[in-house]
Amino acid sequence: MNGAAVIQPSPIPFYTVLVLYLGIMAFIGWYAGRKTNSIGDFFVLSGKAGVVVSGIAYFSTQFSMGTFLGTPGTIYGVGYAGMAISVPGAVFCMILPALLIGRKLITLGHKYGFLTMADYLTDRYHSKNMSGVLGVMMLFFLVPMMGAQIIGAGVIVHVFTGLPEWVGVVGMGIIVILYCMTGGMKGAMMTDVIQGSLMIATAVVTFIVSVVMGGGFSNINHTLQSMNEAYLTFPGANGYMPWTYYVSNIVLWSFFTMGQPHLFTKFFAMKDHKTMFKAILLGTAGMFFSATLIEWAGVNGIASIQNIEKADQIIPMILQRGLNPFLASIFIAGIVAAGMSTIDGILVTTTGAVTRDIYQKIINKDATDESVMKMSKVVTVIIGIIVICFGVFQPGSIFEINLFAFSGMAIFVVPILFGIYWKKATAKGAIAAVIVGIISLLLFTLNPSVKALAMGFHALFPTTIIASIVMIVVSKFTETPPQETIDRHFMA
């Protein structure tokens, strides 16, 4: 055991590796920008993404700083039971969305040229107001989701250089804005491939280092048992994972990913069904291996490193202590990659929400694609600056912010599934379901007496049931979209 953990800054190797890595990413963003010719390319790569790009981009967009810093940080206080956050449900995180909505989205994308979630909802519900509601919700929840990523950059910079966290937050924010502004989705998906590969390598190396540091599995588990046997059982050392929360996590990170606009959009980018399946196999394997190994490393860290300043630091500290500074910096770049690939995917999607869904569809219907492309770059900068401010002020831990933002967007599962499977679903029903869903989510999250009514399940469970009831009741009493629209969606 190493006893109390002290941060040991090694700034020169860290800066050298980081500058090289960011330089490569910036070059790719610039290169993709030269090849980005149309609005379709900018937002969803015009339905041309192949297997490797689709599979790795899906998993690297879903896996974030939350997965690589926040989740192992949370697990560090729980033990093996904490791995239930991602591991048992990981295999379903692409196949469930693909089965329930994927095939239909690929068909609709090819037939009618849909590019974003707003395109789908607006057309299905025959209402431009759906775009506005989605756009506002995306700004409200996706800005914090991006904020959580750059908070992670701050933690890494602090551990490796000793500098204050805001330096990492601002630095990462600027880099992401620069390459998203130039390359759009093409830049984002190309960098996603490199970032995704680096993330897998980081997970593997961190796991091996953590096992070696702990003296092998038997030694680690013996140490954990002598420290507190609850590290090896449910509900974990701090009681974090009772059965109700175990079930919640399995459903949360698989079924509810359908409501995330940045993941939903990826189906429109896939060129055919074969690509979708191969992407599922590649993406699922990548997600399962990365999540298992990095989270297991967080458990192993309990036996080797104690008394750390902040639980989010456990993975950077394992790398820093177990490897020489240059190697540690290379693999820490894998974690920076996890955050960057999530931000770039979300930043492009959020920019699309403001420029296409709110501006082009509601405010200025005559705006040309060319002017929207120009405007997108300015909007990317503005949103990026807001995200940097959010990261500097840090209103919570990486995991908490990520979970809150994810849950907010997950409410869109209700209008999406009803839109796909129920012909009588109406726009008013969908908007009412989303608004009531948000109020319910906030109440079940923030009010302890309401939270108790969820009986230990995550707030999204009762929220989804309530939103579905609202959807059915309001739709029954309001006008359904024209038959032509229904035919278009149900014949596809």
């Binding site: 093996y80 196949i95 089965l99 090819h110 090896l232 175990y246 069904h273």
Partner: protein, 82 residues
């Protein structure tokens, strides 16, 4: 059985995956245990239970993919790409 896959292909597969999805939520000791059951290297048994369940589900995804590729409706956009 063959008829079930032919007539209700999508629905049958959805049910298969939903069964696997619900199965892992059942608190069997090899998925969820409040007592310590050591397995290889002292690692709790439920970790290996998750791995086995994941391997089976992954194999089912491969079978589903192969069956889909034998169906016409999954090749609608192949020509477009060529």
């Amino acid at each position: 059985m063959k008829k079930l896959f032919e007539k209700h292909f999508e629905r049958t597969w959805l049910i298969i995956f939903l069964i696997m999805f619900v199965f892992i939520m059942i608190p069997f000791p090899f998925f969820y245990s409040e007592t310590y059951i050591p397995a290889f290297g002292g690692v709790p048994l439920y970790i290996f239970g998750w791995f086995v369940h994941t391997a089976i589900t992954f194999a089912l995804i491969i079978i589903y993919y192969r069956m889909c590729m034998k169906r016409k409706e999954y090749h609608t956009y192949d020509e477009e790409d060529k």
